[in-house]
Symmetry: C2
Subunit: 351 residues, 2 copies
């Protein structure tokens, strides 16, 4: 066999597999938690009025246009904010900042499957804390996480959709002798969030994305809020020009229209409630959702079969193999028309 | 002192300092090698016709729209191409793929100062190969690079602007028992380039950017061409959605207009020739340039003084402190009007 030039850990990696983006005609795509509604009107205006000549210049390296808007939105200073090329970039920056050999990452299982991939790349030990019955935090989470230097709490959690109780999160942050990153990719769909805790804890990073609630997965933008010391160190790790120029302006436009966010969120929450109710009627069990997706198990607990039948009907959801997760499928909250079609297929199968 | 949560190597890092982007009125900005001319007309059309609603979706993860165009342009297969969020992302991916403790990076000195920063983050030993008189490759470059697993050859080199002879580059690739990355950020301004060598050597990666010759620093796009095995491994290291959706379409538009590239390049090469001639008349020495910048030393070899006086006149160039580099300033090839103003200041000082 030919010699590999790669670091052994890269050769050993399978790599993260993103949700499928197939080319099926008239596909109903409810597999990657995209928002069914367009981005805010200001995004269209920004894009179409943009002076393309400016693209010849490098973007402002720290994306201050976006950071200023974020700081205002959350009532923090610009020094509390780091901008990233999507939430995955934020996670990458954090794991490169705090994890390595002898500096383990702790995260929950099941959760976002990218975390262990990024830790593996850093040759950092990975502590997986299995969720208890009902995808709750186990009571000994703090003890299990103790050896780690970075603990990621996904809240609301993916792919399960529940949000761990705030009191439990707070207790974990207080009892953990390292950095806690709360991945709040779905927080805009949740009853509460951890953003205000950043003022209280200097070991806390809260991560957000524009991909879900702001309907901007295409532009790649995420950000994190933390104390200035943590932000300053992470700034050294990020690529100098990680956020492109157009994205910076689009982010400002989208974040500035909180009224539009409220409007689209309300529709999504209403559709989610209807999904929960209708699937329950058909005998589905589900995790009450605090996100823009629903983790639901068909009556026969055969997630794979439901996934396959949906796919035959040009409806794409996400399936996670595994003893527990394999009972479920993860369904993004699509438009009402899309969800109606999914419910029709479910009714034919299980009605 | 409060405990640091960061990896010790991150605390020790100064971080890469990008070229200054100051807010001076009517500034002539010839410090970061941006292109003075607008991007291709197709870029404007793409941007203004773009259906912003699509931004709600994730981009295609491997940027195939862009990769197909790149493959056609260079006469390679799509499997030979990886797309990145700017050339810095390509470098980051390569260094994370091939460098770490016991897997050193070799690069030339002076060269792009980001390389050692990225290697430091990987805790990879750094072998700096000092350039010989006239910024030529030293004759023992292969011996010096031998312990490294990745060798970066910047061709044309920055900030010096010269291109090492092809025969010497070829000899290095053949005699090096690791991966060679030729950073061709400026290759479109050079008499020749290494792209065709990718077909001959399975340890060669050629890196390009859209930031300079295509006048698209704002969109963040770079790519690398190599054998499929190297590309496949690097794909595991890149962020899943590292290139945003708009960028993918803009890249296709820009790369498809080679006529426009030729036109703007011709103007830049003519301006560069005039800069060389006029500065020589004033007693400057310079490195004959194969790039869109000129590394030029004023008659008194006091680069800092020239930098300062230019700055007082609202003209920003780049100055690199150091015994040899400090004699020079690096001047991007701006528009003719911009360069005229710079020449006026130079004539007042040294004429």
């Amino acid at each position: 066999m030919k010699k590999s030039y790669f670091r052994p850990v890269i050769d050993a990696m399978a790599g993260y597999v993103p949700g499928e983006q197939p080319k099926i005609d008239k596909l109903i795509k409810v597999n990657t938690n995209e928002n069914p509604y367009p981005p805010a009107p200001g995004v269209f205006d920004t894009l179409h009025a943009f002076a393309a000549n400016k693209l010849r210049l490098y973007p402002q390296p720290t994306a201050d246009i976006a950071r200023e808007t974020i700081a205002t939105l959350h009532g923090v200073d610009i020094d509390n904010v780091i901008a990233a090329n999507g939430s995955d970039d934020t996670l990458n920056i954090a794991i490169r900042s705090f994890c390595g050999p002898g500096l383990p990452l702790a995260c929950f299982n099941p959760s976002y499957s990218l975390y262990p991939v990024l830790a593996q790349m850093q040759e950092a030990p990975i502590i997986r804390i299995n969720l208890a019955e009902g995808f709750r935090m186990p009571s000994d989470a703090a003890e299990q996480a103790a050896p780690a230097n970075l603990l990621i709490i996904t809240r609301p959690n993916a792919p399960t959709g529940n949000a761990f109780p705030m009191a439990e999160v707070r207790a974990l942050i207080e009892n953990f002798d390292g950095v806690v990153l709360v991945d709040e990719a779905y927080a805009d769909f949740s009853d509460d969030n951890c953003m205000d805790l950043v003022r209280e804890y200097d070991n806390l990073i809260v991560s957000r994305t524009m991909s879900k609630s702001y309907s901007l997965a295409g532009i790649r933008f995420g950000y994190a809020v933390a104390c200035p010391e943590l932000i300053e160190g992470m700034m050294k790790v990020k690529d100098s020009y990680n956020v492109d120029m157009l994205t910076q302006y689009i982010v400002r436009a989208a974040l500035s229209d909180q009224e539009y966010l409220d409007k689209t969120r309300s529709i999504i929450l209403a559709t989610r409630a209807r999904m929960e109710k209708e699937l329950a009627k058909l005998g589905f069990t589900y995790v009450p959702s605090q996100t823009n997706f629903l983790f639901a198990a068909p009556p026969d607990n055969d997630g794979k079969r439901f996934f396959d039948v949906l796919r035959e009907n040009a409806i794409l959801v996400r399936y996670f193999p595994g003893e527990v997760t394999g009972r479920y499928v993860r369904i993004s909250v699509g438009s009402d028309a899309e969800i109606d079609k999914l419910l029709e297929v479910a009714a034919r199968l299980y009605g």
